[in-house]
């Protein structure tokens, strides 16, 4: 039986994977928006393909943030304050895309719509990129001072490994969004989305190899768990198999399977990131300052209460979320209820 903090390490992973898979596709739809949707009807199709669900998808991030605060307060405090300007930029990106989605169709003016289309694309791409840059810096290890504070500023976050990780998450979101659009749209839009999806996968594979290569020269700690425990290989192997399977599914025109496999690839890559970290949550350059499942967790009382809340609440959440997706299944139809 794993310890309570380890259970919460896994549950937080699940919440963030839920966010990556679900908001991943609506961020991705934004990233490829300008590329795959050429006219107004197509752009409205993209927006309506995510319309009923994008807001619910973002709740995974909010809940993940709350759960991180509750289960590992020191990690929440260290990372969010350490990445101060990056977090503010991320918030700006999330605001920009949300507002763009909501306000684009309020006017028929071409420039108005182009402006918000660009805002939707830029906000989505920036958010996806920043998630990867942040994750990259955490995987790489932060130069925490003796008070456990990161003082590197925004510039300190921009190193080759983290930028490649940013490209990786950008590509991954684009791939996920494209496969969602393949599933939800028809005609020329669907064809272009599939092409964008395959191109994104090429980016993902290149960035993944690049990140692995840099890490190899940079820090051996990242590979410790893979040498120690064969279970760690489930993530990368699963992701590789899923990516290959997804490309095959596209060739067979198995749209739903392709989306599922793209999601599995995200889960696999997230598990890979988790395996590079555990038992750390925030590894420090000086390993004695690292925040780990053992030294950063909340009290057993809080973790137990949170576990009960999650076990009672999340099955209900999953049930009605599935119901909502089922109600909106099938290709997008443009009608008067929507963007």
């Amino acid at each position: 039986m794993p310890s309570l903090p380890t259970v919460w390490f896994l549950l937080l992973g699940l919440l963030l994977v839920g966010y990556a898979v679900l908001d991943g596709f609506d961020l991705g739809a934004g990233i490829v928006h300008l590329l795959v949707a050429r006219n107004d009807a197509e752009r409205r199709s993209v927006l309506n393909a995510i319309g009923p669900v994008w807001d619910g998808n973002e709740v995974w991030l909010i809940t993940g943030g709350g759960a991180l605060f509750a289960a590992f307060p020191l990690v929440y405090a260290t990372v969010f304050s350490g990445f101060y300007l990056a977090v503010m930029l991320l918030l700006g990106a999330l605001i920009l895309r949300a507002v763009s989605i909501e306000f684009r169709s309020k006017e028929t003016n071409r420039l108005w719509r182009l402006w918000w289309d660009a805002g939707f694309a830029l906000g989505s791409a920036l958010a996806a990129l920043l998630f990867g840059v942040a994750l990259g810096n955490i995987v790489r290890g932060l130069p925490l001072d003796d008070g456990g504070v990161y003082r590197g500023g925004l510039a300190g976050l921009l190193n080759p490994f983290s930028i490649v990780m940013g490209v990786l998450t950008l590509g991954l979101a684009a791939q996920q969004g494209s496969s969602w659009l393949v599933l939800k749209t028809e005609g020329a839009l669907r064809t272009r989305a599939q092409r964008a999806g395959v191109a994104s996968t090429v980016v993902v594979i290149a960035a993944w190899l690049g990140a692995t290569g840099i890490a190899w020269f940079d820090s051996n700690r990242v590979f410790d768990n893979f040498a120690r425990n064969p279970l760690a290989w489930v993530g990368p192997v699963g992701a590789a198999v899923a990516l290959a399977g997804m490309l095959y599914a596209y060739r067979r025109r198995q749209e739903f399977l392709a989306f599922v496999l793209s999601s599995v690839a995200i889960v696999g890559l997230a598990a890979t990131a988790g395996a590079t970290l555990y038992p750390n949550l925030v590894p420090a350059v000086d390993a004695t300052r690292s925040l780990t499942v053992d030294n950063a967790h909340s009290s057993d009382t809080t973790l137990t209460v949170m576990l009960v809340i999650a076990l009672v609440g999340m099955p209900i959440v999953l049930a009605y979320t599935a119901f909502i997706y089922w109600k909106f299944k099938g290709k997008v139809q443009l009608d008067e209820a929507g963007y």
């Binding site: 319309g51 009923p52 030294n295 909340s298 809080t302 809340i309 959440v317 109600k327």
Partner: protein, 468 residues
């Protein structure tokens, strides 16, 4: 300015901006649930059209509430990391619970309400409306749990970790959740949000009547809004009284600052209106006051003792007296004004001239922002009155900031937020006026001739053409 001041300004700015939107959406969600229930029970088309109209107002407000809310959740970590480390063991749980029990519910069923009304049956659509309302209410509960714990901490002990840093640790979840102030504050906040929503709909409906754009929908909307606003305004006084008593018991210095009581005395007067006191003593010109009023109101005994700020000899622990006094008195003043407006409205309803009394209708339009301002003032009273503590009695606000964040960082983010929020506010107003200009769908078979209406309407009505 130092990082503490800048972070406080940023927090005040982001929370004041944010709370406008949940206040409106909680109120509107309640109205949508009522209208959806009537539509579902009666199957009358007019409720359908009113519900769709309310949904559109809800949608543009909801999205800004969501994005400005994410800022709030992250800001504890970005700007107040020492505070976050200190309270995380207790404070994080309600935030996570809010996500799991409220936000998911709200966001999932908002999808149905906004996009799916043609994809689901009548009953599921009704259920979705009710669940959105339930979600917003549960969300208010958990957020208030977190904030109330900062006002009246309970169910915890202070421990010191391996690095010698002390923090609050949960000992009893139920005590922490149902801390001494949560229920009074929940009641007062929810009632306030209903008043915000009702005044919002009341003002919009009144505007349609004034512009001769009244229809079967606006007639029902006006009456529904008047009922909710009337009951809500009444509940504000009941819940406000309960909450003030709670503050007196649990945060006596805040109470003393709110009422401007410096010296502990018997038979203290109730200050009604006047210049605010200073940090050191009452205003030079004494405010208009009811003799022995505060003693009478608080203890039901006109000669009873009221504890003043002097109960705390260390004046550095006093809240900013003038700001606390002023925000509290302005809030109560606005509450009285709104109650008078609603009494007048009730009188007109009884006289069957609710939609013909032009003065009342004009006031109703102008009154749309009043409850929102009152809500902001109420929060200002609660938060300023708690100073200099960030967690009452446990941690000073000045000790809660992030050590690694510089004044320049916060300066940059503050400026950026100021610009973005100004833009968001204009977008909100713009989108609202657009939806209001378009108005509810007319009844089937009714041909709306907006052009003709402009001719018939009072001067400056040309804007209604935009709704075409």
């Amino acid at each position: 300015m130092d990082v503490v001041q800048l972070s406080r300004i940023q927090f005040a700015l982001t929370i004041s901006f944010h709370f406008v939107f949940p206040a409106v959406t909680i109120g509107l969600a309640g109205l949508i649930a009522i209208v959806e229930t009537m539509r579902w029970r009666t199957r009358r088309d007019v409720y359908d059209r009113l519900s769709v109209f309310l949904t559109k107002l809800f949608a543009v407000t909801f999205v800004i509430g969501v994005v400005s809310g994410i800022v709030m959740e992250f800001q504890f970590g970005t700007n107040w990391s020492t505070f976050s480390g200190f309270v995380g063991d207790i404070f994080g749980a309600p935030l996570a619970a809010e996500g799991i029990f409220a936000f998911f519910l709200e966001s999932a069923f908002v999808g149905i309400v906004l996009f799916g009304r043609n994809r689901v049956g009548s009953t599921v659509r009704w259920l979705a409306g009710v669940l959105v309302c339930l979600g917003t209410t549960i969300s208010a509960f958990w957020i208030l749990v977190a904030n109330s714990w900062m006002q009246t901490p309970a169910g915890f002990k202070i421990v010191t970790d391996a690095n010698g840093v002390s923090k609050a640790q949960m000992t009893d979840f139920w005590q922490a959740t149902f801390n001494p102030s949560i229920l009074q504050r929940l009641f007062h906040t929810l009632a306030a949000c209903w008043v915000v929503g009702a005044f919002f709909l009341m003002g919009i409906s009144a505007w349609y009547v004034l512009r001769h754009r009244n229809s079967d929908v606006t007639a029902i909307a006006l009456r529904l809004a008047v009922i909710v606003a009337f009951l809500g305004s009444g509940l504000m006084f009941v819940s406000g009284d309960l909450q003030t008593r709670e503050v007196q018991a649990n945060q006596p210095l805040k109470f003393a600052a709110m009422e401007g009581v410096f010296k502990t005395e018997n038979g203290v007067a109730l200050e009604i209106i006047g210049l605010p006191p200073s940090q050191t003593g009452p205003a030079a010109v004494p405010p208009l006051a009811i003799p022995n009023g505060l003693s009478a109101m608080t203890n039901l005994d006109p000669n009873s003792q009221i504890k003043g700020l002097d109960q705390e000899p260390d004046t550095s622990l006093w809240p900013p007296v003038a700001l606390t006094w002023m925000s509290f008195h302005l809030m109560v003043g606005l509450g009285v004004l709104m109650m008078l407006l609603m009494l007048f409205g009730a009188f007109l309803w009884w006289r069957r001239s609710l939609d013909t009394n032009v003065w009342w209708l004009r006031f109703a339009v102008l009154a749309i922002p009043l409850p929102i301002i009152a809500v902001e003032l109420g929060w200002m009273t609660a938060e300023v009155g708690r100073q200099p503590w960030i967690v009452q009695g446990l941690m000073m606000t000045s000790k809660g900031v992030s050590p690694g964040v510089s004044a320049t960082d916060v300066g940059i983010s503050l400026l950026a937020i100021l610009l973005v929020y100004a833009l968001l506010f204009f977008l909100w107003i713009y989108a609202l006026s657009k939806e209001i200009g378009r108005g509810p769908e007319p009844a089937p078979g009714v041909v709306v001739d907006l052009a003709a209406r402009v001719v018939a309407a009072p001067p400056k009505a040309g804007r209604s053409e935009e709704g075409n």
